[in-house]
């Protein structure tokens, strides 16, 4: 599979103040590869450097050091060519206040060289996709937050980008609107096959949308992988709680595939596995065959939030894994 993004050794430092200059090293040597057609998430706490990384990859910002290739084009030398094929949508979207929805779409369409019928057809399809028809003549500053976000997404698809950057696309939106936006991102991606790079600190969003995720903290990528991979990396698995009578053989538990950890006390047992739904059946069968009578079995699935908490605990620990 070809790579949409190749970044190596990206370092970015911001300087502020005239008199006593303050230095903040935001990115500390980022290596990243994103395959074409992927939805790739950058997850991390506030101030981790997510937006800075996205801005560099979208050519809005130049790094101090490192190399970037976007869609096979050198990001440091030929940003203009890259900008033909990428676009961006951000949370807390801002466009010229007094322009209406349709005027904003026309203006940005023209920035990408669209004119005449081609532009109007493109706008019409995006207006339908994002359900903006009733609001075409409404000035930007009178739109609700959700509508602003939908307009921002529509604008970001005007040039049929090969690579789309989404910077916290659902930040500040209520759950219903967020769900709708995520659905639209997913369906657009499915229809076009474009590569999407999104930043978020919403774990559910990352898990729902992303094929792979990079955990970013304090300017460093701590791990990259699928949501499942990342759970395995931090050994934060799903939990199976069993109430039983009789005996459970610890040797058998240790031999079982997918078991990460366990604890047994009196007639209850907690077993941590990589995938509760997959392991619960074989586990129950094995324990029953070993002489335990299972009274109850409950599953407690972990999500990326637990993984996130684990990563956030100790930035110094170099898990250093990339799957």
């Amino acid at each position: 599979m070809a790579l949409a993004i190749e970044a190596e050794g990206i370092v970015k430092t911001f300087w502020s103040g005239w008199w006593r200059r303050r230095v903040k090293e935001v990115l500390k040597g980022i290596d990243l590869q994103v395959e074409e057609g992927e939805i790739f998430g950058i997850l991390g706490p506030n101030g981790a450097g997510k937006t800075t990384l996205l801005s560099i990859l979208s050519t809005l910002l130049l790094p101090d050091r490192g190399s970037i290739r976007i869609l096979g084009i050198d990001g440091l030398q030929d940003g203009h060519r890259i900008r033909e094929s990428v676009n961006i949508s951000s949370g807390n979207a801002n466009f010229v206040w007094s322009l209406s929805v349709i005027e904003n779409l026309r203006f940005y369409g023209m920035l990408y060289g669209l004119s005449g019928r081609r532009r109007e057809e493109k706008i019409e399809s995006l207006v339908n996709l994002f359900d903006l028809k009733e609001h075409l003549e409404v000035p930007f500053d009178r739109l609700s937050t959700g509508l602003k976000q939908r307009l921002s997404l529509a604008k970001s698809l005007l040039n049929d980008p090969t690579l789309l950057f989404l910077d916290e696309p659902t930040v500040g939106l209520d759950p219903g609107v967020s769900m709708r936006i995520r659905g639209q991102i997913r369906s657009t991606h499915k229809a076009s096959g474009m590569t999407v790079l999104l930043t978020t600190h919403n774990m559910k969003e990352a898990e729902l949308l992303c094929d792979r995720i990079a955990f970013l903290k304090e300017g460093k990528i701590l791990a990259i992988g699928t949501p499942g991979d990342l759970k395995r990396i931090v050994r934060v698995g799903d939990l199976i709680r069993i109430q039983f009578e009789g005996n459970i053989s610890e040797e058998e538990l240790l031999r079982m595939e997918g078991v990460i950890n366990y604890s047994i006390s009196n007639e209850s047992c907690e077993i941590m596995v990589d995938d509760a739904e997959k392991r619960a059946g074989p586990l129950a069968a094995t324990l029953s065959n070993g002489g335990a009578r299972i009274k109850s079995l409950t599953l407690e699935q972990t999500d990326l939030e637990d993984v996130f908490v684990e990563f956030s605990k100790d930035a110094g620990s170099d898990r250093g894994l990339c799957i």
């Binding site: 801005s55 979208s58 910002l61 940005y108 990408y112 060289g113 004119s115």
Partner: protein
């Protein structure tokens, strides 16, 4: 450049003209910039010439100054608006993630600036004729066109300067959009010949193209200046400044990409 690329470039230039046009059409204050302030300027100075009982040629000398300042101010503010609207709306990054060149941004806004300035010229010419008996068309079509072209080029030069300052200093620089023209007018002898200015201001005035275009146009109304080749000097200087500014603006945009200005001004 292929035909397709050329068409695309025109559309991109048109985008900035479209934005400025829509905002001008919708905003009352924008209309005030075209009608209210230029007329206030014309009448306040024109009535002063009546009160002072200045003769016809001296009235013309001063009204040419008023006209020049109004035209430059209206045209240059449109060029500056190309970035100022994005600055105020915090939408800078959406403009600069698009595949545009700085000259497209400037020239699209400049087109609307020239159209608005042209309207101001017509309006002020009519009122100058009716109220003060001064005819701006007396110099002839070619000299009038050259004079207006000079003013429009000065305006685009100031507008680029404002855009450059905005990209360097952000909100702190927006005041430049309203102050540069006034300072320039003061130095270039808008209501008086530069010879009355104390040193070193006459020398500074000679480095500013407006001095030559004012003197050129006034020469058709009986004010023969002491400087030769006025148009050559005026257009030569403006060419030099525009070349320097084009290089500077490109550098400033590159610098903005290094410093994260587009991100900061979009937050």
């Amino acid at each position: 450049m292929s035909l397709l690329n050329f068409q695309k470039t025109l559309v991109q230039i048109g985008a900035f003209a479209f934005k400025n046009w829509i905002i001008t059409r919708r905003n009352f204050f924008s209309l005030a910039e075209i009608i209210f302030w230029p007329l206030v300027g014309l009448f306040s100075v024109g009535l002063l010439t009546v009160f002072l009982r200045l003769d016809e040629s001296m009235t013309g000398f001063i009204l040419i100054g008023v006209m020049s300042m109004s035209l430059i101010q209206v045209c240059q503010i449109d060029v500056a608006y190309a970035l100022l609207y994005d600055l105020w709306a915090k939408s800078m990054k959406h403009t600069f993630i698009a595949p545009i060149h700085p000259f497209q941004l400037i020239s699209g806004a400049w087109l609307i600036g020239m159209a608005r300035s042209g309207l101001v010229f017509l309006l002020l010419s009519i009122f100058s004729g009716v109220a003060f008996g001064f005819n701006f068309f007396e110099s002839g079509a070619i000299s009038l066109i050259l004079y207006l072209l000079g003013l429009f080029l000065i305006a685009v030069s100031i507008g680029i300067g404002v855009c450059t300052l905005v990209l360097l200093f952000g909100y702190k620089a927006e005041v430049a959009a309203w102050s540069i023209t006034s300072i320039m007018a003061l130095i270039c002898g808008i209501y008086y010949p530069i010879s009355i200015l104390p040193s070193p201001f006459p020398e500074i005035a000679r480095a500013i193209p407006l001095t030559y275009f004012l003197e050129y146009f006034r020469s058709f109304y009986g004010f023969e200046g002491r400087i030769n080749n006025l148009l050559l000097r005026g257009f030569g200087l403006i060419g030099l400044y525009l070349t320097i500014e084009a290089v500077l603006l490109r550098w400033v945009i590159h610098h903005a990409r290094k410093k994260g200005t587009f991100i900061k001004l979009s937050e």
